[in-house]
Every structure is written in structure tokens, then in C-alpha cells.
């Protein structure tokens, strides 16, 4: 991680960059359409955050939608208060394509010159944002946990400050993109809240043509693609989440968490280690590259508490941890700490809870 450095600005460079900085305006949000079906939840959260940023800067909020038939999603998007919707409907846009989407959006950026561009941190969002960062020669910050408009004494006024937990300990690194535009960031679902806006106003809808040359397409489908069904695990909506980590040791021990989850009406999440060792699916991973959750209770077994994991559970109401090592980082972040071996503690806890439920009945 770099400390605050004072840049020696070449005078010529900074003048052209200053004019660029002052000329570019507006907050843009890429609204991804999921499964040809519905607007992505994370995109709606970004629209509310984008509205907040745009109000502070006194600029407009623009939603960018590319799909086969965009009009059906307008009612959902308009509830979240954009000023303009830039959209394009075409058969080629039915599914994300890594040559068509970046080129179209790049042409829009050159034409309208936005100052800020936000993406939701999904497979599509990360692909699209990385490619646009190369085309626009600008900076991209991944997995932000906070976005604010600040005035910096050295780098200028009204800059977007992007914060993310950094690997080097428990520090939230602050990242700025002072000279290049647009300032880009990707944000995970669940970090911000979504709020509908009840004020009625006129929303401009601008249609953009799509004419991408088919000959340029480099990947061809040999057969018709098939639907891949991902298991939907609603971790973000659960009030009680039970987490398991390396301390559980084996797959059999990890599977006892599911028993406990049934008893408490909870969902099971995990850190990176169970996913690598194939004890559970990828969709259960909680962390910087997994999911962000805000449950009422987070009860975890055998998790040491690395910042990439704990950073996504910060806003849980209560955290109770079971870990044999009281020097583990998770001690600092727990309300209640139990210094026991998770492998031994878990089956006994399940037995005891079953007895309690029998007594009640």
C-alpha cells in the first residue's frame, strides 16, 4: 500500500487534465439485466447511491441499459430516480458480449463525457468495467465499501473517494482518481441500501442504435447454449447466518452446520477455505469476492477473521464466535467469544438444542 505522495505536476500536463476534470459531468450507473428476466438487485442499490452522489454534486444521474427489449424494465428503474435513461434494444444485446458492450458504451462515454461511472460487482460488471478502464485510460477500483464526495487539499475539489478494506491489516484504504475521467468503481451487492423515490418527475429516455459488425465477433457458438442453473442461496436476506471456516477440519464436520441451520431457521455461509476444499458451493462464500451480508446474528465456527472475510460482515447486529485461538483477529470483531474447539463444540450444541426443542414440545 502506498502512503500519501505529493506528485510533482508537470505544468503542461496538469493544465489539460484540469480542464478535463472540470468539463466532465454526471453520475452514470450501468444497470445489468439478469437472466433476461429482471433488473439486478445490486444495480438498484447503486441507483440510490448514485442519486445521493448526483444530488451532492448538483448533476444528473444516468442509467445505462443494454438488452434485447429494454422497455419492459423501465418501470422498475424509474422508481429509483434517474434523470436520464440511455438504452439500446437489439437482438445482439440479449446476452452480455465482451466485444459489443464495451465498444457501445465507450462511444457513449466519448459523446456525453461522464464524471463518475458505477458498476455492480458481478461477472459481467467486472469484465465490462476492466475493459472500459483500458479504453478510457482511467482508474478502476474494485469491491468498494464506501463512496463519498470529498475535497482534497492537494488533488482538488469534488472528487470521488472510494474506500475498500486493504490487505495490510485493518486499514480502509482510500483511493482517488484525480485526473483521469470517468472515475470508475465496482461495488458488491448488499453494501448499499436501495430506496425508492416517490417524487414524480420527467425522465428523458434516449435510444441509441446498435450496429456491431458481425464479422468482428471472435467466439462462435457451435451449438445452441443451455441454461445453467445456479443454486440460489439467499444469504443476503437471512436474519441468522451460520459461518464455517478452516477450524472445522473436514467436510463431515462442515455438514453439521446444515443441521444447526435447520434447527435455528438460518442459512449457512463460509469463508474461502471450505469453498476451495469443496466442502460447499461457491455461492455460500462470504467475503470480498463473495457476498456481503447484514444479518441480525452471525454465529461462526472455526473462522480466524481475516479482513477480506470480516469486512463483509461488519454491519451484522451481533457476532458470536467459536474459535480455539483467542489471539485470532475475530476476537476484536465479536460481541461474544467462546474459546473452544469448534469440531467438539458443534455436535454438543446441536444435541443440546434438540433437547431444548423437545422440552418445549
Amino acid at each position: 500500500m502506498e502512503k500519501d505522495k505529493k506528485k510533482k505536476n508537470d505544468k503542461n500536463n496538469s493544465q489539460t487534465e484540469q480542464t478535463k476534470k472540470n468539463r466532465d459531468k454526471d453520475v452514470w450507473v450501468f444497470v445489468e439485466i439478469k437472466d433476461h428476466d429482471r433488473v439486478l438487485e445490486g444495480a438498484l442499490e447503486l441507483l440510490t447511491k448514485g442519486r445521493e452522489l448526483a444530488d451532492k454534486l448538483n448533476e444528473q444521474l444516468v442509467a445505462v441499459v443494454l438488452a434485447q427489449n429494454c422497455e419492459q424494465y423501465f418501470t422498475d428503474i424509474m422508481d429509483y430516480g434517474p434523470d436520464i435513461i440511455l438504452y439500446s434494444s437489439h437482438n445482439q444485446l440479449r446476452h452480455y458480449h465482451d466485444q459489443i458492450f464495451p465498444e457501445m458504451i465507450y462511444n457513449l462515454i466519448i459523446q456525453y463525457k461522464p464524471s463518475i461511472f458505477l458498476f455492480s460487482s458481478t461477472e459481467v460488471g467486472r469484465d465490462l468495467a476492466s475493459r472500459l478502464a483500458v479504453k478510457c485510460d482511467t482508474g478502476l477500483t474494485a469491491h468498494c465499501s464506501k463512496l463519498e464526495i470529498i475535497d482534497h487539499p492537494i488533488y482538488g475539489e469534488k472528487l470521488l473517494s472510494m474506500k475498500r478494506p486493504a490487505f495490510s491489516g485493518n486499514i480502509a484504504a482510500e483511493i482517488l482518481c484525480p485526473y483521469k475521467r470517468p472515475q470508475m468503481a465496482t461495488v458488491q451487492r448488499g453494501v448499499f441500501n436501495k430506496n425508492k423515490i416517490n417524487i414524480k418527475k420527467e425522465i428523458k429516455k434516449i435510444k441509441v442504435p446498435c450496429d456491431f459488425d458481425k464479422k468482428k465477433i471472435r467466439i462462435i457458438n457451435a451449438e445452441a447454449p443451455l441454461r445453467w442453473y445456479r443454486q440460489l442461496i439467499p444469504l443476503e436476506e437471512a436474519t441468522v447466518v451460520i459461518g464455517g471456516g478452516r477450524g472445522l477440519g473436514t467436510k463431515d464436520n462442515f455438514e453439521k452446520l446444515f443441521e444447526l441451520a435447520d434447527l435455528l431457521n438460518a442459512e449457512v455461509g463460509s469463508t474461502r477455505v471450505p469453498v476451495f476444499n469443496e466442502w460447499c458451493e461457491e455461492e455460500r462464500m462470504i467475503g470480498q469476492t463473495g457476498k456481503t451480508i447484514k444479518p441480525d446474528l452471525y454465529l461462526n465456527f472455526g473462522i480466524s477473521g481475516q479482513i477480506q472475510h470480516i469486512g463483509s460482515v461488519f454491519d451484522a447486529k451481533r457476532i458470536i464466535s467459536v474459535n480455539i485461538d483467542s489471539d485470532a483477529p475475530i476476537y476484536e470483531f465479536s460481541d461474544y467469544f467462546i474459546k473452544e474447539d469448534a469440531k467438539i463444540f458443534l455436535p454438543r450444541l446441536i444435541k443440546r438444542i434438540k433437547e431444548e426443542i423437545k422440552k418445549r414440545n
Binding site: 502512503k3 429482471r38 443451455l226 445453467w228 481475516q306 461488519f314 467462546i338 454438543r348 450444541l349 438444542i353
Partner: protein, 326 residues
């Protein structure tokens, strides 16, 4: 196999008509139950992605494949110790490893070399210490190694890293397959593989289930979004590997003994034609400022007594929060 595919396609079309806007749980559960059986075929994790050449169509002209693997030295985040007072990690030289995703990329390159032939070059950008991971790649079976190092490159962000790697790849020229890891365990951005593919203007493949070559043509099965696709494309390509895609082999003892004596080519900013304003922290569009320590006021109360009394206390709490009905 074909009948099952037809069944799945029929259901796909039926379900396109049902427009459930925000996934009602009951309907999704029914859906999942029906399709769990069909998914078993797709859910089998194939540990060897690369299939051998199909003898009828195999074109022997292109066996001299040139494969490049881009790797990175990272600190071992699992074994790292934190200095909580100052909010920093305690860095020691022993704690540096190859990024786990990059090991899977090396495994992919080695399996292509076994079945189709070719030469593998490992490339890394980092401080001079990164020589150690290049020696490690020789032990796995890589043929050449390039270390790109220069004090000017310190503090580069992901865009500048991708540019430097792209320049090196263009200079060395004519690589057919470039393998990278999907993301690193210290930065976690996952941007470099996409940016490299954009700079070199070559297709980007991830989430592969199967991969085969026939001369200049590539045949692959991959998962792209919510679709399982069977695709065709032509060389050159870039492949980004994730941890669950394949199993990394163990290096041979004989290779480990000889790996430290092999030569590594070293490149600096002069050979690549980059000046100070294009790289390092000066050339990076983003600036990182160390912010505040993340402090959370949690109660940090430890339960005391033996294991049974701790269980009792925990159950009392669960009753208090209305999770178990008292």
C-alpha cells in the same frame, strides 16, 4: 445425452414465458428440484480440462505451440500475522508464495504441453525477490522464465501492470496461448486478465469445463453467465484459471534439485521502452491514501467455565434474541 438436452431446452422455453419478477422462493424451489437431476452431468467437476487430440482431425502442423504463463508473487495471507496496534502485516521473506490461481494456470499450460507439445515461458512482474517463484516454475516443468523488474515499476496499479505485461508479450512475440490466474489473494481485483485480453485484442476464456485444439482452432466448453456454451474460436487466446478448475500436480524431485541453476531473463523499463511517466505510481491513474484504522466497538465478552456451561450460556442468548422460542 441428446434426449436430456432436449428436455432441458423445452423447460427453458416454457420458463421464459413465466415471468417471475423477483424470484419467489416457492417457485424457485420447485424449479430446482426438477432440474437437480439434469444438473448432475454438468456439476461434475472435471479435474482435467484439456482433452487429447481427436486422431481423425488432428492437424500436426501446429505442434510448436508457444505458451506464456503470467504469475505473481504474493504474501501468504493464511499464515500472516497482524500487528493490530499499528494496523500492519508483519512481512517476512519466508511468507511469499506463488498466487494460488497462477499455479492452476501453470497446470493448464503443462497439460497442453503434454498432449499437444510446445514450449512454456513464465513471466512475472515484481521486485527482485520474485526470482524465487520463477525457480519454482522450473521445478514444475516450465522451459523459460522472464523477470520484469525495475524500481520505476513500484506502486503500479492494475492498468499499468497489464500494460507492462502486454508490452513484454508483444516484444517476445507470437504467443499462441496466454494463461493467467483469475485474481490474486492480496489485491483481489480480478482486473488484469480482462485488461490484458483487451490490450492484446484476443478472446478471453474462463470457467472452462473442457478444452481442445485442432491446429489453429480451439474447441471449448465453458460457463458464461447463466449459459453453458460450446464454443469455437481461433488462436491466439487468453485463458484465466480459477481454483476449482483443475488439480495442480506435484513437481518431480529431480526437477526440484536442478531448478535453481537455470537462467532467468531479466527485463527492465529500458528494454521495454517505457519511461518514468508511464509506469509505477506516477503513471497510475489511481492514488492510494492510507486511511483510518477500521475500528469497531464490539463487546468482546468471553464466556467462561467448562464446555457445558458455555453451551448453556449460548442457548440463553439464542432464547433472548428470539431465535429459539423459550
Amino acid at each position: 445425452m441428446d434426449k436430456k438436452h432436449e428436455l432441458i431446452e423445452d423447460e427453458y422455453k416454457k420458463n421464459q414465458k413465466k415471468k417471475d419478477k423477483y424470484n419467489k422462493k416457492e417457485k424457485q424451489d420447485e424449479f430446482d428440484k426438477k432440474n437437480k437431476k439434469n444438473n448432475k452431468e454438468f456439476n461434475k467437476k472435471i479435474k482435467k480440462i484439456v482433452i487429447p487430440p481427436q486422431e481423425k482431425d488432428f492437424d500436426k502442423k501446429n505442434t510448436n505451440l508457444r505458451i506464456a504463463v503470467c504469475i505473481k508473487q504474493v504474501p501468504n495471507t493464511d499464515k500472516i500475522k497482524f500487528d493490530w496496534k499499528n494496523g500492519r502485516i508483519i512481512r517476512t521473506k519466508e511468507n511469499n508464495i506463488i498466487n494460488p490461481d497462477d499455479l492452476h494456470a501453470i497446470e493448464f499450460a503443462l497439460s497442453i504441453k503434454e498432449l499437444y507439445g510446445g514450449t512454456i515461458t513464465a513471466i512475472t512482474l515484481g521486485p527482485e525477490d520474485s526470482k524465487n517463484i520463477l525457480f519454482e516454475t522450473f521445478a514444475y516443468g516450465v522451459d523459460k522464465a522472464i523477470l520484469i523488474t525495475d524500481p520505476l515499476f513500484a506502486g503500479s496499479d492494475s492498468l499499468i501492470t497489464s500494460r507492462i505485461l502486454a508490452k513484454c508479450i508483444e516484444k517476445k512475440g507470437n504467443f499462441d496461448i496466454i494463461c493467467t490466474g483469475f485474481e490474486s489473494i492480496d489485491g483481489n481485483t480480478g482486473q488484469v486478465s480482462y485488461q490484458l485480453s483487451e490490450l492484446l485484442n484476443i478472446p478471453h476464456l474462463t470457467n472452462l469445463h473442457q478444452f481442445g485444439l485442432n491446429g489453429n482452432k480451439v474447441f471449448a466448453h465453458r460457463i458464461f453467465g447463466h449459459e453453458f456454451q460450446k464454443i469455437q474460436t481461433t488462436l491466439p487466446i487468453l485463458v484465466a484459471m480459477k481454483k476449482n478448475d483443475n488439480r495442480v500436480r506435484f513437481p518431480k524431485l529431480s526437477a526440484i534439485q536442478t531448478c535453481f541453476s537455470k537462467e532467468i531473463e531479466i527485463l527492465s523499463s529500458r528494454e521495454l521502452g517505457l519511461n518514468a511517466n508511464e509506469c509505477g505510481s506516477k503513471g497510475s491513474p489511481t492514488i492510494t491514501i492510507t486511511g483510518e484504522q477500521i475500528k469497531q466497538k464490539r463487546k468482546q465478552i468471553e464466556f467462561k467455565g467448562d464446555i457445558d456451561s458455555k453451551i448453556e450460556e449460548l442457548i440463553q442468548k439464542l432464547k433472548k434474541y428470539d431465535i429459539i422460542n423459550a
